[in-house]
């Protein structure tokens, strides 16, 4: 009998429930065993109780990877807290694994806290396959030796008492255990089960509720510990969705009519959801034959009607570039969503990165100015779409909205938005064009011109990707070529004048300013809070607009002794023997800020495919502060 089994056997009575501020839980299974559903449900119940919640999906790249494999781990990380939670946090406090192999991947990646509690399915010890038994024993011994607090749980055996196929439903048993361990309201848990199996028969709901209750009872009787994360029930209705659903709802709420797309991970789920809901209000999702066609289709739809959107990820974005250039040149409004993943090439389709920033800013051949925004929270994914549509239409520009795999699959509650008619696109103008008006009558100050939409009498012209004059006539004239280029560039300046300076998180001045963009916002701000609590003069600045950049940034940069960007893209390591000031490749945002503001900005980045942890950021910031202290 091993130590853990002994522990489980001995803990019959008095359960100690400890109140804690937050907890990070991971649930890992083979693909298809339902760990994700379990994790999402756990997060939703906690959110209903009023906890701050952030959930992160752990997704294998394949649909059915081999069972009991490290690479096949599928699951969820759930961070719950008494206060608002803005990111997935550092290492996990508790992990539940349906087999020891899926857990190993997380252990090896350093995702579990030292001494982390592990609840491990014990059925493998009794496997008929001696190889599996050996693997199980070996891993168990290793985990115990490394100081993890392992509890073996006969999950499948317990479930078999209730259902004939325990592989289906084990996840609800686990959910029951979690509800017990974290003192979650069982009535809310039952509601949650009714909600997720809502479309199915009562019998299924009843059987899952029975499993939930069994898990709860098992943990109550066999585990002598428990936690309570105090929560304050929200007073406002909260929405619990992931970033891709938020993008899709944003498209719906923006009044756009048409989304053209081609399947690509991790963007597609936005289009899946949109396909389901869009048509009920007269919109539609067109799955084109390829990414190029999806972009061209959206351009055609935008040209003749309301602004259209195309949703993609890195490789798809690369393919769309020529079309995007056409939209820039012909000044056709267009919204492009890039849910970034690991690159280059096929890279890491299910993992997160922020490596497309420079591509979307400078991509497409020639000078192709377009607006680039980055969503930094789930809520922001929603509102960015509405803003993007409006900017595209006002400026007749391409607006790229950057999200990434982290935001796409993460969930966080945020206040339910109140529908606003002003979000919607105006009807298409079909009035006659005034006599003498030209399709590209560029305003000398703003570069803006009005758009003629087919159907408008008197507005007939042939739009072209060739250089053209104010009447849209093909022009090889050097003057006219420069005029067009000038006007298209001016529009960015016109937009920039309308932006408000970003707000500094923390004090307005200090020793170190952290600058970020996109999904890292939560982790950066949490690390700033931690550093400030330690007495450091650290603040952060998060940019929503990358192109154009809002006014006032330069002044902010100058109020700090050091500035560093934190990003999930590649930057050369200064300590590498070949790397020095003259050849170091900086992170994307650092490069942009250095070029624009002439400030010696440092960077730190990580391309590990996972969300950057606040703990990692704090370590970097401490090191940078210490280095500066040594210097002075």
């Amino acid at each position: 009998m091993n130590a853990a089994a002994e522990l489980v056997g001995s803990c019959a009575t008095a359960k100690q429930v400890v109140t804690i501020g937050e907890a990070i839980v991971e649930i890992m299974s083979d693909s298809g065993e339902g760990a994700q559903k379990c994790g999402q449900s756990f997060g939703s119940i906690a959110a209903r109780m009023g906890n701050g919640v952030w959930t992160v999906e752990i997704i294998p790249a394949e649909i059915q990877p081999p069972a009991r494999s490290i690479a096949g781990a599928s699951g969820n990380r759930i961070r719950i807290g008494s206060k608002r939670v803005t990111n997935g946090g550092d290492e996990a406090d508790l992990a539940i694994a349906f087999n020891e192999q899926v857990l190993l991947g997380r252990v090896n990646a350093g995702e579990l806290k030292p001494g982390c509690i592990i609840l491990l399915e014990s059925m493998w010890a009794d496997s008929a396959d001696p190889k599996i038994v050996a693997q199980y024993r070996e891993t168990l011994a290793r985990l115990l030796a490394e100081g993890y607090r392992v509890h073996e749980v006969p999950m499948e055996n317990e479930c078999r008492k209730l259902v004939s196929d325990p592989r289906k439903g084990k996840n609800m048993f686990v959910l029951g255990m979690l509800c017990n361990l974290y003192s979650l309201d069982m009535d809310l848990a039952r509601d949650q089960i009714a909600f997720i199996f809502g479309k199915k028969a009562d019998k299924i709901i009843k059987s899952n509720v029975a499993l939930l209750e069994a898990g709860h009872a098992w943990a109550e009787h066999n585990l002598d510990f428990g936690f309570r994360v105090p929560a304050v029930r929200a007073t406002e209705p909260q929405l619990v969705i992931n970033g891709n659903t938020a993008v899709a709802l944003g498209v719906l709420a923006s009044g756009m009519d048409i989304c053209a797309m081609y399947p690509i991970t991790p963007a597609t789920s936005a289009s899946h959801y949109l396909s389901d809901v869009f048509e009920r209000s007269g919109g539609l999702v067109h799955q084109a034959e390829d990414e190029i066609a999806a972009c061209a289709f959206a351009i055609g739809a935008s040209y003749a009607g309301k602004v259209a959107v195309t949703i993609t990820s890195g490789p798809g974005y690369s393919l769309k570039q020529e079309g995007i250039g056409l939209a820039v040149m012909a000044e056709i409004p267009l919204v492009v969503v890039d849910v970034q993943r690991g690159g280059p090439s096929t890279g890491q389709p299910t993992k997160s990165e922020q490596s497309d920033l420079l591509t979307v800013m400078f991509g497409s051949h020639g000078d192709a100015p377009k607006v680039v925004m980055a969503a930094s929270t789930i809520e922001d994914c929603f509102h960015s779409m509405i803003t993007a549509r409006r900017i595209a239409e006002t400026f007749n520009m391409v607006v790229v909205v950057l999200s990434d795999a982290s935001l796409a699959t993460a969930q966080q509650p945020f206040p339910r938005p109140e529908f606003n008619e002003d979000w919607l696109a105006p009807p298409i103008d079909q009035n006659p064009v005034p006599e003498g008006a030209k399709p590209y009558d560029w305003d000398p100050v703003t570069g803006l011109s009005r758009r003629f939409v087919p159907g408008q009498p008197g507005g007939m012209h042939t739009l072209t990707g060739l250089a053209h004059d104010r009447s849209s006539r093909v022009a090889y004239d050097p003057e006219i070529n420069e005029q067009g280029m000038h006007a298209r560039s001016l529009k960015l300046a016109a937009l920039q004048k309308m932006l408000t300076p970003p707000k500094v998180f923390g004090d307005e001045e200090g020793d170190l300013l952290v600058v970020g963009w996109g999904s890292t916002k939560g982790a950066i701000e949490e690390s700033v809070e931690r550093m400030r609590a330690e007495g450091h003069k650290v603040s952060s600045l998060h940019l929503s607009f990358l192109q154009p950049m809002a006014p006032g940034i330069k002044e902010i940069l100058h109020r700090f002794r050091q500035v560093i960007t934190i990003e999930a893209n590649w930057s050369d390591l200064p300590e590498d023997p070949l790397i020095d000031e003259t050849n170091r490749r900086y992170s994307a945002l650092a490069m942009l800020l250095r070029a624009r503001y002439l400030v010696d900005i440092d960077c730190w980045s990580e391309v590990r495919g996972r969300p950057i942890k606040p703990g990692s950021i704090c370590a970097v910031l401490r090191q940078r502060l210490a280095r500066e202290e040594q210097r002075s």
Binding site: S44, A234, T235, E236, P237, Q238, L239, V240, I241, T245, L249, L252, A253, G255, D257, I258, V277, R280, S281, G282, G283, L284, H286, A288, E289, D290, A293, A294, A296, F297, A298, I299, G300, A301, S302, Y303, A304, G305, K306, E322, G323, L326, P413, R416, P417, F419, E421, L424, P454, G455, P457, G459, M460, H461, T462, L463, T464, G465, R473, V474
Partner: protein, 318 residues
């Protein structure tokens, strides 16, 4: 305030001259077959009474794709190979517009080949005119997918290596093909008749037009131009009708029922004689825009109610 009837009468009485459809002065080479296509299309617009503001000519890149500039309608001179998906987006957003696509053998059959296949499958109500001169013109004489084997060009100075692809057999092999025809630039009367039938077809009409390029492959169609017996006129009461005057020249005729797809595929395989007429016409194939736009009006209320219904699914109430 006029009544609906008065409005209709006004529309009916609306007549435009050919000049009202003429845009910029064509910059094609002397003797270019594209001029014949342009004339046929301007005449079509006039005779069908198309409102210029409700008509869009979409094109890709190449000599053929300059055509929209020479029309006085809306035009969209896009990028190489992508005219079809652009046109599809226009049509789906605005089923009320008349959408035409002018594309070349390089634009459609090479760089845009994937879009061509899928456009046939979508079967949207668009009139597609393939200006097929068997050569890249604008980039100065390179071999195209429809160049006959042995074609000498700047990239095949010793003659091209591959057999030509037949846009007709390819199109007729694709599911949902609903209108496939062939015309030649040197028989303007049939060309006009065929593009008219193509325009009137509800669905994607694909018209391959053999078009002469005197600049780069001047002798390509000479044997056929000079020997009317090498032209095969496909006649039918539901297809091409050859006028008495034309009958005297083009005597090589067969009756072909445009509903007979097997026979159409056989005829399409023939390079010599060159068939002219409607190979296939099936008005019963559904249009993608009809399947997708099932009469649902998008209003502020419909958006609001579906938005609120969706939020309800994900809302945690206090």
């Amino acid at each position: 305030m006029s009544t609906a009837t008065a409005c209709l009468q006004h529309l009916f009485a609306e007549q435009r001259s050919l000049e009202e459809y003429q845009g910029g002065v064509p910059r094609w080479c002397k003797g270019c077959g594209d001029n014949a296509i342009l004339t046929a299309l301007q005449r079509l617009c006039r005779d069908e009474g198309l409102r210029p503001e409700k008509t869009v000519f979409v094109s890709g890149i190449g000599c053929s794709s300059r055509l929209p500039h020479y029309m006085r309608t809306y035009g969209f001179h896009g990028i190489h190979g992508r005219a079809l998906p652009i046109a599809e987006g226009i049509k789906l957003a605005r089923p009320d517009l008349h959408v035409f696509v002018n594309t070349g053998d390089g634009d459609c059959c090479s760089i845009g080949a994937a879009h061509w296949i899928h456009a046939i499958r979508y079967n949207m109500n668009i009139t597609v005119l393939l200006h097929d001169n068997h050569i890249y013109g604008l980039t100065k004489k390179q071999v195209s997918p429809t160049s006959p084997i042995g074609t000498r060009s700047n990239t095949t100075p010793r003659g091209s290596y591959l057999d030509a692809m037949s846009p007709l057999t390819v199109t007729l092999g694709i599911q949902n093909a609903s209108f496939v025809a062939q015309a030649v630039d040197w028989i303007p009367e049939s060309l006009f008749q065929i593009v008219t039938a193509a325009f009137r077809h509800r669905g994607l009409s694909f018209v391959r037009i053999l078009q002469r390029c005197p600049e780069f492959v001047g002798s390509m169609f000479e044997p056929w131009v000079h020997d009317p017996q090498r032209m095969l006129m496909l006649t039918h009461e539901n297809g091409l009708k050859v006028s008495p005057a034309l009958q005297k020249i083009y005597r090589n005729q067969i009756v072909h029922d445009p509903l007979d797809i097997d026979r159409a595929r056989e005829i399409a395989s023939s390079e010599d004689p060159i068939p002219v007429g409607i190979l296939y016409h099936n008005p019963a194939v559904p249009c993608y825009e009809d399947l997708r736009r099932a009469g649902m009006l998008r209003t502020t209320d419909s958006i609001r109610s579906s938005f609120e219904a969706e939020l309800d699914k994900f809302t945690v109430w206090p």
